[in-house]
Symmetry: C2
Subunit: 352 residues, 2 copies
DNA sequence: GTCCACCATACAAACGATTGTAGACGCCGA
DNA sequence: TCGGCGTCTACAATCGTTTGTATGGTGGAC
């Protein structure tokens, strides 16, 4: 009363000058109560249309917007989705993986479309489930999206037992508890190997470390196909972090250049590096060595020759993740989605 | 007392069963007041060390963590930094730009390191300054980082007049009000053009639309160098969105194949596409046509031949942005940073 | 003319934490 | 034994909204 009421006293500094920070401030200016202002700004029909517009105009004029923290606290709905990237194996990995970044971009687009904000968290698992519960248990988000499962399958499984609005990208195992959207990596790996074998490869190599569950399945698929066809398979555990990748691949390709004629790379990025190294060693692609990638990032079309790869439907997957999360936030329990991979034949393998 | 103390009474359902969601719940269990629990969990020295540890153990046991919304509301400090990507020109652009995504990754790393969470927002400017003020005015974040300025220089300038903790990536103009960290694009463009001219190019082309201020400056730099040397310069406004880029570049390179012998691409991604198209047209690089990119993304090393490009120090820039933002949050007013570009000579230009 | 219904607004109680301050308790010296 | 002092804890106000309910006023029907 005493301090605030500058309305009538000094007409000078009345209007746009005094900073209006709270609903109460605006209410005083409009001559109504805070509750009414709240409803007016929310566009509720309980307030008179004329009053509503007057208040909205006033708010616009003063550049006022309600404090989100207070709003979220009261309404117990944050309008925020947490997106966490578990950096499990590979402690030193930055968020620089091209696939994850691409997926993140699509998720951001989908979430924005649905009116959600996105809280990004780079999590480095430390043995406990803390890295995940920090997000789920904080009351800061309505739901959580996991970009990849890394080697944290068990933790995710455990947390999801009590925290329902959680959807992960990655492998969808039989009987698993949590909701996952991903590509059938086993089928993808098999598909890649079978393609190479069909087009004449006899000594295969799989490039990529299998600490993460997704990559491990790709490798299993490749191994299964190789075993069935009776061809050799070499596993070279290339790091997924792009910083180390280059040197490791260089070493690997030089060392094994004598006997490998078909390479399955765990990702397109590895494949690009392989292409580069093979080219330096003047191996002809696909004549001397065939190469096949995984992901089908936009870049795959731009290599020379263009990269044959196993396509993951990132955009579709991102949309599915967001849709399923929204359903879970609403209390439903949609099942996971295992998308079939697709072979995109380009120039680094011989046509069958 | 009556309800909570299951320790001795019924050892069965005593502990982890009853859900403890609030400080008050935990306080009841511990037989202390909520205030004490709050201080204990915050590690304050005002509570007895023994009590503190007992409470912390209890919290751990029940998987309790304080509601962040309430905490942030009361303490008026969110521990969150907003990162917004303005999609000004190019309404249909997804967050898929490789450079922005890379910068985002580094920002995420730096912010995590500093204990901040990251709130990502894809903003589509609509003529007003609403897209930015939605973030700055909401009380949701302690500060805002802008990934690129797009064509929104004026809006940013205006908002930053009253909202101090704001740092943008991008061009650092003379006399501008807001704090920006970025590469000297003018110098970069000039550097690229001078390099091409020095190595024999006489008919230059700049590929990339100049709606965004950064690209526009690169173009100006190229134009200045071209004018000084008296060589022709063609400007072909390629879209920055990767979806449309391919076709546009294909059309452009086919049309102009007769007279361009030096290409400055507005980004590495454009350069990669150019390489691809030129290769299809069986032009020899760098003998028939020289190409130079901008950014020096990790991919630039993997093209064939490896891409000559103007390097932007993304990691260093990200760190600078976060440092300056932290200083601004603390009330200081650090100046912007204009980093010198660096020419990385690889295989798509002739050595001088 | 009275009463009912109804619309618009005011009031006040949450939401769940943080934090200044007052008070309880134990310990010490006199 | 008592006062003073230093530690620790309880109490209560506060952050800024949202939302259920009470209340005031207006119009129409009988």
């Amino acid at each position: 009363m005493g301090s605030g009421g500058g309305d009538g006293d000094v007409p000078d500094n009345s209007g746009a000058d005094t900073k209006v920070r709270t609903l109460a401030d605006l209410a005083r200016l409009a001559g109504v109560s805070a509750g009414t202002v709240s409803r007016a700004l929310a566009g509720k029909s309980l307030v008179n249309a004329k009053t509503r517009e007057r208040i909205q105009a006033l708010a616009r004029e003063h550049g006022f917007r309600p404090n989100q923290m207070a709003s979220k606290l009261r309404s117990r709905r944050t309008g925020v989705v947490g997106v966490v990237i578990p950096l499990g194996h590979e402690k030193r990995q930055q968020i620089s993986d091209a696939f994850f970044l691409t997926l993140l971009g699509h998720l951001a687009d989908e979430l924005t479309e649905s009116g959600y904000d996105l809280m990004l968290s780079r999590a480095i698992p430390d043995g406990s489930s803390d890295w995940l519960e920090r997000m789920t248990g904080s009351g800061m988000v309505d739901g959580v999206l996991l970009i990849g499962q890394s080697d944290q399958f068990d933790v995710i499984e455990q947390v999801s037992a009590s925290y329902r609005p959680l959807v992960a990208w990655g492998t969808c195992r039989e009987g698993q508890h949590h909701c996952a959207v991903g590509t059938d990596n086993l089928a993808g790996g098999r598909m890649a190997a079978e393609h190479l074998i069909a087009s004449g490869a006899r000594r295969l190599a799989f490039l990529g470390e299998t600490l993460g569950i997704e990559i491990e399945e790709r490798h299993r698929g490749v191994a299964a196909a190789a075993a069935e066809a009776g061809v050799d398979l070499l596993h070279i555990p290339i790091s997924l972090a792009s910083a180390e990748m280059g040197a490791q691949i260089k070493a690997a390709t030089e060392e094994n250049e004598h006997d490998v004629d078909g390479i399955v790379a765990a990702s397109d990025l590895i494949a690009m590096n392989v292409l580069h190294c093979l080219h330096e060693q003047e191996r002809r692609i696909p004549d001397d060595t065939q190469v096949i990638g995984f992901d089908d990032l936009p870049l795959a079309q731009l290599t020379m020759p263009p990269l044959t790869t196993i396509r993951q439907e990132i955009a579709i997957g991102a949309k599915a993740m967001v849709d399923k999360l929204k359903a879970r936030i609403a209390g439903e329990e949609p099942a996971g989605l295992k998308m079939p991979p697709r072979l995109v034949q380009r120039g680094t393998t011989r046509p069958v």
